[in-house]
């Protein structure tokens, strides 16, 4: 049986592992790995929009298809290995921050100087000074530094002036900010979102919280608010367009919040202007024509197109007989703004107005002449004499097209967002402190050698320039009553 390791050795090993896990070396490796992984995720289409396996196979070839699917490159950001990398970075950052922050705070409490290496990055000035008493010189130096709003630290061998000392913690503040952002992202697993699709006819109806389990089981036919503790009513919705009449300026919905049938809040939601109530945020997401709920009134003519056979009122999916025959006409689809795809297939363009209304009909049966009829015909609202099939048994003319609109309101419960926001704010504060408000640090000491007595003024990198340092040195010299200047620049 192996003997247990002595406590100091165990502690040393543990310390070694902790140092490695919080080391800059590991941080560099993790940053590279996460950057490469994210780049892969940015290039390869990601779930849930990933194309089918066959498309992936043809796009990338057999080898890369195997690599992509086995390593989950088509869902990088949810893959266990990517999450493990993020967790490792969080651990690395936490350990590094704890170690650094502890040292920085201890240093600040003791009034220690910044890292010795940084002293020599800044400017240095050497001036000859008169032979006054040492205490007089120190008092003059301290007075000048205090006049320049430096905090003076008296050492045996030097006087140190420091400004913006708290910004020494800025790098740690940045790290803390990143950790808080990551904590916010972790809280994102509690995020919930749903979509309310409100049709024109449902304006003014109350959207109540979903009955327990009804929405999940698909038992609710009208929209309901999952996880809601209040009701919502969409009073109106619409679109505002620019003077060109085409480009949308704003999509909006006027909503009222109700608690126990009492109206507590009325607001307009629009793109970029969400509404938040009791932790649920509502976003204006979609607006458009509800072609599936369209109705048309049409005139059916005889083969010559001259005589009207019938006028029919139809909704999408509805069927009606054509009088005098056994032909049935079905309204298969309605387009608010018909477009034609690259393959010639018709599609509905997302527009703010019904620019090019059209209807697709199916006619099946036996016509008045006893001929079999089975065809589709596409009829245009603006071009009544144009047909997909020019030679048809029953030319159709659209008399009226009524296409209602609908709005999509996304609602989101996002407990991680305030945390991430706070993290970003802390991170930004740290960045400003670290890169724009670095601590200014002046080291002033009196030295003597064979050539005389010298005032050495050396500044940390935070001091703006050599000219600033020279200014301080000259001010000290003026206080001592001498202006002889030389420099070791």
């Amino acid at each position: 049986m192996q003997s247990r390791l002595p406590r100091t050795e165990t502690a040393s090993r543990f310390g070694g592992v902790a140092r490695f896990l919080g080391s800059i070396r590991l941080a560099v490796v993790l940053l590279v790995l996460i950057a490469v992984a994210a780049a892969i995720g940015g290039v390869v289409p990601q779930a849930p929009t990933t194309p089918g396996a066959e498309t992936l196979y043809h796009s990338y070839g057999a080898f890369w298809y195997r690599v992509i699917t086995r390593l989950a490159f088509d869902d990088v950001f949810h893959s266990p290995w990517f999450l493990a990398l993020i967790a490792a970075l969080a651990l690395n950052l936490s350990l590094c921050t704890i170690r650094r922050l502890a040292a920085s705070v201890r240093g600040l409490m003791r009034g220690a100087s910044p890292a010795a290496g940084r002293r020599h990055e800044g400017a240095g000035i050497r001036l000859a000074i008169p032979g006054q008493g040492a205490e007089d010189v120190r008092s003059a130096i301290a007075a000048v530094l205090e006049l320049r709003r430096f905090r003076v630290i008296r050492r045996d061998d030097a006087l140190v002036g420091e400004r913006r000392r708290l910004t020494r913690l800025a790098a740690d503040v940045i790290h803390l900010g990143v950790l808080v952002v990551l904590a916010g992202a972790l809280l994102g697993i509690l995020r919930f979102e749903g979509m309310l699709v409100v049709h024109e006819r449902q304006r003014g109806e109350i959207i109540a919280p979903c009955a327990f389990g009804a929405a999940a089981l698909g038992q609710s036919s009208s929209p309901c608010l999952e996880r809601g503790t209040f009701s919502l009513r969409v009073d109106d919705f619409g679109v505002e367009v620019h003077p060109d009449g085409l480009t949308p300026k704003s999509y909006w919905s006027d909503v009222t919040i109700l608690e126990d049938t009492r109206e507590v809040r009325t607001a307009r939601i629009s793109v970029n202007r969400p509404l938040t109530h009791r932790g649920i945020s509502f976003y204006q997401m979609t607006y458009g024509y509800d072609s599936g709920a369209a109705r048309v009134r049409l005139a059916v003519r005889d083969r010559t197109g001259d005589a009207s056979v019938a006028e029919v009122d139809l909704g999408v999916g509805e069927t009606a007989p054509i009088p005098g025959s056994s032909v049935w006409i079905t309204l298969a689809r309605v387009f608010a703004s018909l477009g034609v795809g690259e393959g010639g297939e018709p599609f509905d363009r997302p527009t703010t107005t019904a620019e090019n209304p059209a209807a697709l009909f199916q006619l099946v049966g036996t016509d008045a002449l006893g001929e079999e009829v089975a065809y589709h015909d596409l009829v245009f609202g603006r071009f009544p004499d144009t047909h997909l099939n020019p030679d048809v048994s029953y030319p159709i003319r659209l008399l009226e097209v009524e296409i209602p609109t609908r709005v999509g309101i996304r609602y989101v419960i996002s407990p991680g967002y305030p945390v991430a926001w706070a993290g970003f704010a802390v991170l930004s504060l740290g960045l400003v402190g670290s890169f724009y408000l670095r601590p200014v640090w002046i080291d002033v000491r009196v030295t003597e050698d064979d050539t005389g007595r010298w005032l050495d003024v050396r500044a940390d990198d935070g001091a703006r320039s050599k000219r600033d340092v020279l200014g301080i040195a000259q001010q000290i010299l003026a206080a001592l009553g001498d202006r002889e200047v030389s420099s070791d620049g």
Partner: protein, 277 residues
């Protein structure tokens, strides 16, 4: 209407003149020409700023709402990076001519590309998603950061070109390389906070307001993060591991290529929520 486009052309000519004078200065080995080169760049910058103000007033917001405007703004931030590093005393106009010429040439090329028939300078009405103050902050801060990254990129590219693998050959050459390295670092240090706050923070807030989520791994967001990670890497290896010269120069070059790719390339690769920019 194409408000400001004339002034943008003037700016492009100014930047091109600046780049040419820097080139001439390097060829003739006359530092004076390089100092003079700053004048047309500064004049171009003033003209472009005036153009932006005019266009912004006509549009009612910062003109960064389509590819033409963002390209022009890109040129402006490049010139801003050039002038800011000069004003901050991180770079002397008579020295490091390659950097000045490179940055001015980039600014001129960007304006030229924007002015090409590929892009229309006409004002376009704003679609709802772009009508946000967060958009202005997001785009402007991010691109200002990238303006400084360009300075770092050019300084690093010159470092790689001049060092040729032997960084410490001769005192004068070594001094130049040290100054280039320092300039690259200073430029990253100035640009990084802008890039982080604009790209990540303001971008996340805008996404949250517009789409209800602050991060969605949209391809543009993802490559923005990749670019940010590369600059985080640059700062860490330089400040904490003491890397200098060619090694950090390669990272700065990679970082700027990624920034360019994020700006212009991602939309060609995959369409996402940022496909209007």
């Amino acid at each position: 209407m194409a408000e400001g486009s004339g002034l943008f052309t003037v700016a492009g000519v100014g930047y091109a003149c600046g780049a040419f004078l820097h080139l001439l200065s390097a060829l003739l080995r006359r530092a004076g020409l390089s100092r003079v080169a700053t004048a047309p760049v500064a004049a171009g910058f003033v003209a472009q700023t005036a153009g932006f103000v005019l266009r912004g007033l006509a549009l009612g917001t910062l003109p960064v709402t389509n590819t033409y405007e963002t390209l022009v703004f890109y040129g402006w931030v490049f010139a801003l990076g050039y002038l800011a590093m000069l004003l901050l005393g991180r770079w002397k106009a008579g020295r490091l001519r390659g950097v000045g010429g490179g940055v001015a040439a980039f600014a001129a090329a960007t304006i030229a590309l924007a002015s090409s028939p590929l892009y229309s300078p006409e004002l376009q009405p704003l679609v709802p998603a772009l009508r946000s103050h967060w958009l202005i902050l997001h785009v402007s801060f991010t691109l200002v950061g990238e303006g400084f990254f360009l300075v770092a990129f050019v300084a690093s590219a010159v470092t790689l070109f001049r060092s040729g693998g032997r960084i410490s050959q001769g005192k004068a050459r070594s001094d130049v390389l040290e100054r280039l390295d320092d300039l690259a670092y200073r430029a990253v240090a100035v640009g990084f906070p802008f890039f982080t706050v604009g790209g990540l923070f303001f971008g996340a807030v805008w996404a949250k307001h517009a789409w209800g989520r602050y991060w969605g791994w949209d391809p543009k967001e993802t490559f923005m993060l990749v670019t940010w990670l590369v600059y985080v890497l640059y700062l860490h290896v330089r400040l904490r591991r003491g890397w200098r010269g060619r090694r950090t120069a390669w990272i700065a070059v990679l970082g700027f290529f990624l920034a360019l790719f994020t700006f212009a390339g991602v939309n060609f690769l995959v369409r996402g929520l940022h496909s209007y920019s």
